[in-house]
């Protein structure tokens, strides 16, 4: 079933036709988040990638608002004079009242304007503002929670900024303020309390409580409606944060989340059903040649194969051309990210491949950073041995070539039996002896600090996948992010993903899930779950996702064992495909990338203010 390359906009639920009547000219959009020009976690990626589309749409009237962090500003921001006269007055007024507000361009794609507020400079107001917060909402903020205190300062300062801006406008302004996450949420609450003429949007990318509850190994999704929220948050010492988050969700004109699964989570944990789901996109790279990504796959695959040759030296008893590379990557959250399920399925897959006498070998990479003290010797030695064999072959080739050349020069066909002399054989024999190995190829590329208690290694020991030659499934655990300067596997993450055959992300808790989305835009098939935002999104928008290389595991309505069987069957099916089938599948996968492009997904977000102003035309009058 082919999919049209340009999807119709209306296929996204909740999105109406473009409203041309809306006049952006006199409207301004403030996008407010703690991670503007300040990388702390995943929100940074969302905001940074979305900025291009938003600034194309809003032009000079789009401002990102974040905290001023000197080290970030030095590397990512060009400070300039405010361009917009109203904003210039606003910033001058604030700076003369004891704030430090900076204005500049964020040096990313789209180079949007940023307003950066020095939160520490106004720390002397903390107690006054905390009292005000107390009087307004009855929420107190413990003095020992640094982040929450920053959230108070940031909240009051952003509300001040918006209020001052509205006051500086000559005409009643169209102001839209889009707040991300609880750290920025207080600004929204204050805008409503001060009755500023501002349309507010609150986006939560995950809920505070959800992350805590999932990590606590409770049967999260089946118990969603049963939690006593106040108690769970209070018992976990995050009650004040939870109150701030829920207050923002409650007060927002428009409340959004990034995926259906997070929408369900928010409905139960924040007690408000999101008005709109706004999936996160990517900036998709377009190649002029349609099959360019297939070539890149082949190139990167060769580099991974080289690494594998070194890693398995002395045990290269499998056919590398019939070898499939699977990988899982992300933060090291063993069960939240589904590494447990993946390992268990690999054990079952190993059994299936063996009893079916399959000639396919599966190599599963685990790219999850853990505490290590550098590479282990055996792994480094493997690469050195491979290099030596390569050099030896080059040397012999040189000598061989020279003799061949000489014999041709004198007009004779070479005598093949004399082409290699004794010395050549000695060199080669010595090189082969060096590849002898007593031990099994290592599982882990690094020396782990907590080797005996490490969850992945413990699990590997339990299921007994030790890279022996009888095993059809081999495991390589790389407990560090990939880097192109690594002596072991010198590739960056993007190249590595391109070289693999399948990404496996059987997460239990994954509000959005950039990893499978990144696979998709590079044309690499992936496994995700119906508990991840990405999985839900694909399930919703594609009739038969697995035909496009998007395998979606059911972890929501099935037990662990059943999910495990399902994953095993996905993997086994994948192993049975021919090379040709895999190429066709990759082509199909890559076609989905338009669906994940901000140019497409961002429209949902861009539509919100327009809908909002259209639906409350009286908004300004009152």
């Amino acid at each position: 079933m082919p999919l049209a390359r340009s999807l119709s906009v209306t296929s996204l639920s909740g999105l109406e036709e473009w409203d041309e009547e809306f006049d952006v000219e006199d409207a301004v959009l403030f996008e407010i988040a703690w991670e503007v020009a300040n990388k702390v976690g995943g929100i940074y990626t969302v905001i940074q990638t979305k900025a291009r589309l938003t600034s194309e749409e809003w032009g000079e009237n789009y401002f990102l608002v974040g905290p001023y962090v000197e080290s970030n500003v030095r590397t990512q921001v060009e400070l300039i004079e405010p361009t917009h006269p109203t904003l210039k007055r606003t910033i001058e007024k604030m700076n003369s009242s004891g704030c430090k507000v900076y204005f500049g361009r964020w040096l990313i794609e789209g180079s949007p304007y940023v307003i950066l507020i020095d939160v520490g400079f106004t720390a002397w107001s903390l107690d006054t503002w905390k009292s005000e917060l107390w009087d307004l909402c009855g929420i107190g903020v413990p003095w020992f929670d640094r982040e929450a205190n920053d959230a108070v300062l940031f909240g009051f300062l952003t509300a001040w900024l918006l209020g001052e801006y509205a006051a500086q406008c000559d005409e009643p302004p169209h102001i839209v303020a889009h707040f991300h996450e609880w750290l920025a949420g207080l600004g929204l609450v204050l805008c409503r309390q001060r009755q500023l003429s501002v349309a507010t949007i609150f986006t939560t990318h995950a809920t505070l409580l959800g992350r805590y509850l999932c990590a606590g190994n409770v049967d999260f999704y089946n118990k969603l409606s049963e939690f006593n929220l106040d108690k769970e948050a209070g018992d976990r010492q995050i009650y004040h944060r939870y109150c701030l988050e829920r207050a923002a969700a409650h007060c927002a004109h428009v409340f959004t989340t990034v995926s259906q699964i997070t929408a369900i989570e928010a409905e139960h944990l924040l007690k408000r059903k999101p008005d709109i789901v706004t999936p996160n996109g990517l900036n998709v790279k377009k190649f002029s040649a349609v099959h360019e990504f297939q070539n890149l796959h082949a190139q990167s695959k060769n580099r991974i194969q080289e690494f594998v040759r070194g890693h398995f030296y002395g045990h290269l008893d499998f056919n590398l051309d019939k070898c499939l590379f699977l990988f899982i990557a992300g933060r090291y959250e063993f069960s939240n990210k589904g590494a447990d399920l993946f390992l268990e399925s690999l054990a079952r897959l190993n059994y299936l491949l063996r009893v079916n006498h399959s000639d396919v070998t599966v190599i599963a990479f685990f790219i999850m950073p853990a505490r290590t003290n550098n590479f282990n010797v055996e792994t480094l030695k493997g690469q050195a041995v491979r290099k030596q064999l390569w050099d030896t072959a080059q040397t012999v080739k040189e000598r061989f070539g020279k003799k061949l050349y000489e014999s041709l020069l004198v007009g004779q066909l070479p005598d093949v039996s004399k082409m290699l002399d004794k010395e050549d054989f000695t060199i080669m024999k010595r090189a082969i002896f060096a590849t002898q190995r007593q031990c099994q190829p290592p599982i882990c590329t690094h020396n782990m600090l907590e080797d005996s208690s490490d969850p992945i290694l413990s699990c590997v020991r339990r299921i007994g996948l030790f890279n022996s030659s009888a095993d059809r499934v081999k495991i390589i655990f790389h407990p560090e992010f990939l880097s192109s300067t690594s002596p072991l596997l010198p590739m960056d993450y993007e190249d590595f993903v391109r070289g693999c055959h399948l990404g496996v992300f059987p997460s239990y808790y994954e509000p959005w899930g950039y990893t499978p989305a990144e696979c998709t835009v590079m044309g690499i098939p992936s496994v995700s779950t119906n508990l991840s935002g990405f999985g839900c999104f694909m399930e919703e928008h594609i009739a038969d996702p697995s035909a496009y290389g998007i395998y979606i595991l059911d972890r929501r309505f099935r037990g662990v064992d059943e999910s495990c069987n399902q994953l095993t069957s996905f993997l086994f099916q994948f192993c049975k495909q021919s090379r040709r089938q895999r190429i066709i599948q990759r082509n199909r996968t890559e076609r989905l990338s338009d669906l994940l492009d901000w140019r497409y997904l961002g429209r949902v977000l861009l539509q919100i203010p327009k809908d909002y102003f259209c639906s409350c035309k009286n908004f300004r009058m009152t």
Binding site: V141, P142, G234
Partner: protein, 334 residues
């Protein structure tokens, strides 16, 4: 009743200092002292103020002002108003008590400090400006008419090297820096409230264990000229706000029909307040009246939140917070 022979003593020489003295008495009470709390007042303090002080103190004792008359030297310090603090040495005449702790009216007690009565005369904390001198804002002494006479004599003969009481007392108890280490009170018993510390890291390390804060300098937390400025550290702001909390928390008359909650350790017979008009006599601005509406209960409630002890299963449940949010959400939609 044995405890009543010991007392905390403070001194008020102008109406404006009554505010400070009241905060001293209240902070002592709130932290459950078992000792008497007395205030010495000079005759120029108004009768209304004395009435107010009687509500906060066990005893209000009138003493004669004793100005050192040493204006030239006092003006060296830029503090001509200090002369009146010579009156301080009158505290040695309070012989109805066996031992006393003197607290300046510009101090604030942050926890129970009754252990000070285990010290002997003359115990005091070093002055941050010259640590070989003690600061006379907090000191332990034994009332004695003999000592009082000697001090007067010393004052008349040698004067005071800084023109104030601190110079006099330091030259009189000149062995303090070298003699007996047990007479050196730890600095936390007299942390100078508004000086900018040259040793900020130590202050950040130990400042939180402060027991008594001393708002030295001409501007007091209650004076209108007292402003937040960059020179003062964040911690100092914190102390100033504590002073306000202490002051405001007890400045409300209970609403009709509602009993004010008394500290369990408060001595019987002590009434926190019964004269709402009392405030007016030393309130520099009427805005205090509205601020004074915040009652103890509220402050304690907020304090519990800020200690991470919100009553999330009871009154702090989110539905109650949501009600507050809905108040302003509803009013804006109308």
């Amino acid at each position: 009743m044995a405890h009543l022979t010991t007392a905390f003593v403070t001194l008020v020489t102008t109406d404006s200092y009554c505010v400070g003295a009241t905060a001293v008495a209240r902070s002592l009470r709130r932290h459950g002292t078992t000792r008497s709390i007395v205030v010495m007042v000079t005759p120029n303090v108004s009768e209304q103020s004395r009435v107010a002080l009687r509500n906060a103190f066990d005893e209000v004792i009138t003493v004669d002002a004793m100005d050192s008359g040493d204006r030239p030297r006092l003006s060296l310090l830029g503090r001509p108003e200090l002369g009146i603090t010579f009156t301080k040495i009158h505290c040695w005449t309070l012989t109805q008590f066996s031992k006393c702790v003197f607290l300046d009216a510009d101090t604030l007690v942050l926890c129970n400090v009754d252990e000070l009565f285990e010290r002997d005369e003359l115990s005091a904390a070093p002055d941050p400006g010259w640590p070989d001198c003690f600061n006379s804002g907090v000191f332990v002494f034994r009332p004695s008419l003999h000592t009082h006479a000697c001090l007067l004599d010393h004052a008349l003969r040698h004067g005071s090297f800084d023109g104030g009481d601190q110079g006099l007392l330091n030259s009189f108890f000149s062995s303090w820096p070298v003699a007996d280490i047990s007479k050196h009170l730890p600095f936390v018993y007299n942390i100078s409230g508004n000086s900018v510390y040259s040793y900020l890291p130590a202050f950040q390390q130990f400042g939180h264990s402060a027991k008594i804060v001393h708002f030295t300098g001409a501007e007091k937390p209650w004076s209108s000229g007292y402003r937040r400025d960059d020179g003062r550290s964040h911690f100092m702001e914190h102390f100033a706000s504590l002073w306000w909390k202490e002051y405001l928390s007890y400045s409300t008359s209970p609403p009709p029909g509602k009993h004010i909650r008394q500290d369990p350790e408060e001595p019987q017979g002590f009434h926190v307040m019964n004269s709402p008009s009392r405030l007016i006599c030393y309130s520099p601005s009427s805005s205090w009246q509205s601020a004074a509406d915040a009652d103890t209960e509220q402050l304690e409630h907020r304090r519990r939140w800020e200690a991470g002890e919100a009553d999330y299963l009871g009154r702090d449940a989110f539905r109650n917070i949501q009600k507050m949010l809905d108040c302003f959400l509803d009013s804006s939609s109308q």
